[in-house]
């Protein structure tokens, strides 16, 4: 399974990379971690005439956090995200989501930006980024723009990226106070693509009522379930509440069907995982509320 021929470019600056994207447009593919792209090339399912290797553009790989936000350079390795103490402390949802990506060897090369740009249906980072209201910085040779995570994922493996654009950075703002989180996933084997994946962030107020809620499910694109989020606001956590919210979230939920699981299964699994995610997020939030109220 050898790839078809291609011309290879290895720019060392962002400008150079963007210049190549402008020049070769839809004939080109950017190469970041390669953990998704190269298998497709080896199967000859994708045959770019030009491969633009971003691995030598050092300015594209960074993790920097301030009081306001976490900024992730697009070619930051997933393993770096997973291991960062700052991310673990302030954006643990990202660490948990990243830990579900494949295996350690994959995460050593796979990148945050690469996973988002590839936009595979059951991928973890897209779901997590939507849940965290992240924003993506896209750039072409002559222009930059910012796109919110929900607007970034358009359809099956299609993002807002234009053929001449690169994803440069992902910005994630700080979470509300006392936010609890949870990433739940079910797959055939450890490390496989999720059959169903759910991310949730809940923040309780001092009275124990939900004042911030986010719930996102895997689907063809990450599915943020506003009706469930709205239903939860102002309520107190309970088993019955979360069961109800999960039911609302997955009623008529569109899911894919393949040899691993039917759409019906995925819907049922999403409901179970949604309930579990909400429960865990609420518990973690409650722990923090208890902690800060001392």
């Amino acid at each position: 399974m050898k790839p078809a021929k291609f011309d290879y470019h290895d720019p060392t600056t962002i400008d150079e990379a963007l210049g190549l994207m402008a020049q070769f447009g839809d004939q080109a593919r950017p190469l970041a971690g390669g953990q998704s792209l190269v298998p497709l090339m080896n199967f000859r399912l994708i045959r770019p005439a030009h491969l633009i290797d971003l691995n030598r553009v050092n300015d594209l790989s960074y993790l920097s956090a301030d009081d306001h936000a976490l900024r992730i350079g697009a070619t930051t390795r997933q393993r770096e995200l997973e291991r960062s103490a700052e991310v673990a402390k302030r954006w643990p949802l990202l660490r948990d989501a990243a830990a579900f990506i494949g295996h350690i060897q994959i995460r050593n090369r796979g990148t945050v930006g690469g996973s988002l740009a590839h936009a595979f249906p059951s991928a973890e980072l897209p779901v997590a980024m939507v849940t965290l209201d992240a924003s993506m910085v896209l750039a072409a040779k002559t222009a930059r723009r910012s796109v919110g995570a929900e607007d970034f994922f358009l359809s099956y493996m299609t993002t807002a990226l234009q053929p001449d654009e690169l994803l440069l950075e992902i910005a994630v703002t700080a979470l509300p106070a006392n936010a609890g989180w949870s990433y739940q996933e079910v797959s055939r084997r450890h490390g496989d693509f999720a059959l169903a994946g759910v991310a949730s962030v809940l923040a309780l107020d001092v009275k124990g009522c939900i004042q911030h809620s986010r719930l996102t499910l895997t689907g063809t694109t990450p599915m943020r379930v506003r009706k469930a989020e709205e239903f939860l606001l102002g309520q107190r956590p309970s088993e019955a509440l979360f069961r109800d919210a999960a039911r609302r979230a997955t009623e008529n939920l569109e899911q894919d069907s393949d040899i691993h699981a039917s759409a019906e299964y995925r819907r049922a699994a999403c409901a179970a995982l949604a309930r579990r995610a909400l429960t865990q997020a609420a518990r973690r939030s409650a722990e923090q509320v208890k902690g800060t109220s001392r």
Partner: protein
């Protein structure tokens, strides 16, 4: 389409070659450089038979093009033993505890295990299995591999006292 020069360090030695950009690192190692210990099981990044250490980290060499390794430091199975007559403790324990049968997955597993023990000198069984989950073995059922790694951890700990 032109070829590119690749210069890299493997197991402490310098190598170079001239390759088409599409040449996979696995094929460069095996065919161009004669380092056939790195095996090819799937060419799509799942089985782990091609695992090498790339700048110290275990990665799938079937998902790298040789040109990407220009300037890199690699370790392959041929570089695990300290010399031609002695074995690394991992190799000793795999031998002692029957941690291999057909041997096809073994190079990739040894390198993953080496990286694991460097990062976590005293890993739990759960951690060992998690690290191993990216390396498929069709013969052993993993049990003896896990034990061999656990015993190696003990040996290395004793050595460093």
């Amino acid at each position: 389409m032109s070829t590119r020069q690749v210069r890299l360090t493997i197991n402490g030695h310098e190598y170079s070659g001239e390759v088409e950009p599409r040449k996979l690192l696995t094929d460069f190692l095996r065919d161009d450089l004669g380092l056939t210990g790195t095996h090819v099981g799937c060419e799509h990044g799942v089985c782990g038979a091609c695992t090498i250490l790339f700048n110290g980290e275990p990665v799938r060499s079937c998902l790298l093009f040789a040109v990407q390794a220009n300037g890199a430091e690699l370790k392959t199975v041929e570089g695990i033993a300290p010399n031609a007559t002695e074995l690394h403790p991992l190799q000793e324990k795999f031998w002692e505890l029957h941690g291999l049968q057909c041997g096809f997955c073994t190079p990739g597993i040894l390198l993953t295990a080496e990286a694991l023990l460097k990062e976590i000198p005293n890993p739990s069984e759960e951690e060992i299995r998690e690290w191993l989950s990216g390396n498929l073995c069709r013969c052993t059922g993993y049990q003896n591999i896990v034990t061999a790694i656990q015993e190696t951890a003990k040996t290395l700990a004793e050595k460093s006292r």
